[in-house]
């Protein structure tokens, strides 16, 4: 029973959890959400740009998108965050006078998620049947308008589940920005748990952090499943029987 008690002590020290909760709500949660949402939005914009470059008829644009994606997808997130944060941080400090690593954290997360989101969008756009572009162009739309009005919207719709999955990954990866040494008011859920764990010598604050992450990610996961199912079955609508569908116009009687 000693072992069980010891485990309960390490993970479920209610006092330690209770002490860290206010700070997690007031500081950690908002920061995690800001990091994830802002870099999610910027990453989506970067991703759209990369996807359009990736399917462009211009070979130069395709190559740039390819190289960017290969590098950013191929590196461990920790490494990217460190290199961008510490590498470009001093330059930004020089230019803006700001010492906060927060913008660098957002930049690193955005650049990384942009590479993944770009691939998601590209695969979605390319999965749209070629007949869609052909039919749009046959109506007299230019290539650009056809893509913008018909092909890209369909491509995005198709990859919405994958996109939400990427946002879930982003929420989790935002925990890595603690490497950059954020100011006390900038700390997100993970670092607040980590600090408290270090102070108390107990793992329970991590458990509190885990609960916060799950409260964010599990609803999103189910949201993904919901859109996925919705897109597969669509809104139900009754089809007419084929006999009723066959009759038409004056010619049908002829």
């Amino acid at each position: 029973m000693d072992i069980l008690n010891q485990l309960a002590q390490s993970f479920f020290d209610w006092k330690a959890i209770g002490e860290v909760l206010p700070k997690m709500f007031a500081v950690g949660l908002p920061n995690t959400i800001v990091l994830a949402v802002v870099s999610g939005v910027i990453g989506t914009a970067i991703g759209m740009l990369l996807a359009l470059m990736g399917i462009s008829r211009n070979a130069g644009a395709r190559w740039i998108a390819r190289i960017y994606t290969d590098i950013l997808r191929g590196l461990p997130p920790v490494l990217t965050i460190l290199v961008i944060g510490f590498g470009f941080g001093p330059i930004v400090r020089e230019l803006t006078g700001s010492t906060s690593p927060y913008p660098m954290a957002i930049a690193a997360l955005s650049l990384m998620s942009g590479a993944y989101i770009g691939e998601i969008f590209r695969s979605g756009i390319q999965s749209v049947d070629k007949g869609q572009l052909e039919a749009t162009r046959a109506l007299g739309f230019s290539y650009g308008s056809s893509m913008r009005l018909v092909v890209v919207p369909q491509g995005i719709r198709r990859v919405l589940p994958a996109l939400v999955n990427q946002f879930i990954a982003l929420i989790k990866e935002s925990s890595l920005v603690f490497m950059l040494g954020l100011l006390a008011t900038e700390r997100e859920i993970f670092q607040i748990g980590k600090d408290a764990a270090a102070n108390t010598g107990n793992l329970s604050p991590y458990v509190a952090a885990a609960i916060f992450y799950l409260a964010l990610t599990i609803p999103l996961t189910h949201f993904v499943n919901w859109i996925d199912a919705r897109m597969r079955t669509g809104r139900p609508e009754k089809k007419e029987p084929d006999e009723a569908a066959a009759v038409v116009g004056k010619g049908a009687q002829a």
Binding site: R137, G140, D242, A246
Partner: protein
Amino acid sequence: MSEFVSGTLTAKNIHLSFGSNHVLRGIDLHVEKGTTASVIGPSGSGKSTLLRVMNRLIEPDQGDILLDGRSVLKDNPDELRRRIGMVFQQFNLFPHKTVAENISLALRKLRGMSKEQARDEALNQLDLVGLKHKADSRPANLSGGQQQRVAIARALAMKPEVMFFDEATSALDPELVKGVLALMTDLAKGGMTMVVVTHEMGFSRNVSDVVTFMDAGVVVESGPPEQLFTDPRTERLQGFLSDVL
């Protein structure tokens, strides 16, 4: 008397290659205003490709395309395509838009109509193909025949001078073919200039004014349907007709 402002379409000595594959080898086709030309021939003979070259979805390597006697190769291809309607084997309706929006999109963006005007015009066109009651459905909830009729309405809404049909009934269940062919017959009788690539020999024989038989990228035989179907001159057409009839 024609219900349509239709034009005369001429293709002259059209050549097209994809790499070493010489798909079209000097095609001539003349479709007089208000008439229907059907193009028949085995799969891979270049019929569908010819349609795409004539509305410049694919640019020819050589040759000329004339609409009402004037070459259109120097025009903006997007503007040319607004004058030529096209209907596809796979319908190619926009699945993320309603039936009415499928039709109104080009009216709004290319013809500059307001949202209300475009919707009214879309409903008019849908009425003509007997599908006004489906205006707010999604294409996926329509039968193949209904989808193809919407596709025809979408093309007609642009008031084209010529209509292309690329095997418009090949993807339909047999019982739905009749409705689409009936609609195409109405258009032909209404004076639309039409080029119809088809495997429906009955339609080709009964409705078209000129039948063109293509094989391996060349026009093998061309003439009035009666002559081609009852008295084929070439061995290739004889062989083709004995295979399909």
